[in-house]
Symmetry: C2
Subunit: 214 residues, 2 copies
DNA sequence: GAAAGTTAAACAATCGTTTAATTTAAACGA
DNA sequence: TCGTTTAAATTAAACGATTGTTTAACTTTC
């Protein structure tokens, strides 16, 4: 399903407003006004407000399975692959942060009649990819077997989201200011922190100096 | 400001509905119905819907500075204090998870005219307590100096929230079922995972076998 | 009998959606 | 290139339902 220019503009505005004010906090009139179109066009193109949300998620959460598979085939040791994988995940989530914010809020909203099947399927896909990498590292004796693999997801994504949703707070704490700086901070310091976290977890209480078989 | 029985019941219902359906997704009629009171009582007692949210946050996010200070005075080494501190934070957040969920969503909502000053002040208080503990451990040579201390907060809280908001997903992944099991899982496995994460970060690339001075 | 509590009803405003009329654009045979 | 046809796009207006809040009358409590 392709989108014409006007449909794309509507989705763009809707994404921004949904992420900022929530789905229920955004009116179709607001969307129409900011997108410079008539209210009726939303029903005309998408059917309803909820179907607009459906379409938004459909177009924004397209898979990045392929990118993850490329990382798996990377040369370099397990640690390096973990670094690349974490950077890939965080970069990806950050780029589509608004769509993911909408999902993660509306997902647990019982009155929302939206299909999250795509979202869940992709989440499971991505998890199994991570699991594969970790278990391979464990077999090679590089990673600790004590780590709770499913909980790595909340550790990676949760750290990002909590930072980003409270960026105002951390801006004050770090003395950061302006949009560009937060962007830089995510792409350098935050990613490095999460990489460090995962690697630390994976080697916690591991014997040191062992020869790492790739 | 004390609450009578009816006011407390209203707050109770409002907290549940706000957390489940969001502030904008909850109507005052819905609250009145579930709390078995007349609509007008909400305005009568709290003034408006937004002031109801104000009152909710005020009564739910009361400080736990005192508990944290107790942990700091604990006997035991730095590692033990970190364990206790993480457990305290997660337990506390988990107990008031609904109020915190409302805050963390509404906090970044620009159209919400609610004072988050209390929330921010407390957050800064808690951070400085954590910072104190970590720095003390670093001076003692027990903790690595490479760790980004402010980002420990997203790592701890973000891991919890992402797990809890996606608990449906993890229930399917773990084969958990029922409410009691999630409760147990948080209080045992999840807390242990977060403790492990923080400790791993704090000792990442630290020399081993060093005598730990308390 | 004064104050506090409680109620049903009404308020204007806004909600998402639909209607019916009109304009625009493309396709058509001549 | 012409007028005609057809479908898509766009509009203003109206729909009924629901929103948060207020009113004014009534009951309870002390």
């Amino acid at each position: 399903m392709e989108l014409n220019e006007k449909q794309a503009a509507i989705l763009e505005v809707a994404e921004k407003l949904f992420a900022e004010n929530g789905f229920d906090g955004t009116s179709v009139r607001q969307i129409a006004r900011e997108a410079n179109i008539n209210i009726a066009m939303i029903s005309y193109y998408f059917g309803s407000k909820e179907k607009l949300l459906d379409a938004l998620l459909y177009h924004r959460l397209a898979g990045f399975r392929h990118e993850m598979e490329k990382v798996m085939l990377d040369k370099g040791d397990h640690m390096h692959k973990v670094d690349r994988m974490v950077a890939l995940i965080v970069t990806r989530i950050h780029r589509n942060r608004r769509a993911y914010k909408v999902v993660s809020f509306e997902y647990s909203n019982p009155s929302r009649q939206v299909s999250f099947e795509n979202y869940i399927r992709r989440k499971k896909d991505n998890y199994s990819m991570i699991e594969k990498l970790i278990k391979s590292g464990q077999k090679a004796g590089v990673f600790s077997k004590k780590v709770n693999i499913p909980l790595l997801i909340p550790t990676i994504l949760g750290t990002y989201f909590h930072f980003y949703n409270h960026r105002k707070f951390f801006e004050a704490l770090h003395g950061l200011d302006g949009k560009q700086t937060v962007e830089d901070y995510v792409n350098t310091t935050l990613i490095r922190h999460i990489q460090q976290t995962v690697k630390a977890l994976l080697t916690y209480e591991m014997p040191r100096g062992k020869s790492q078989i790739n």
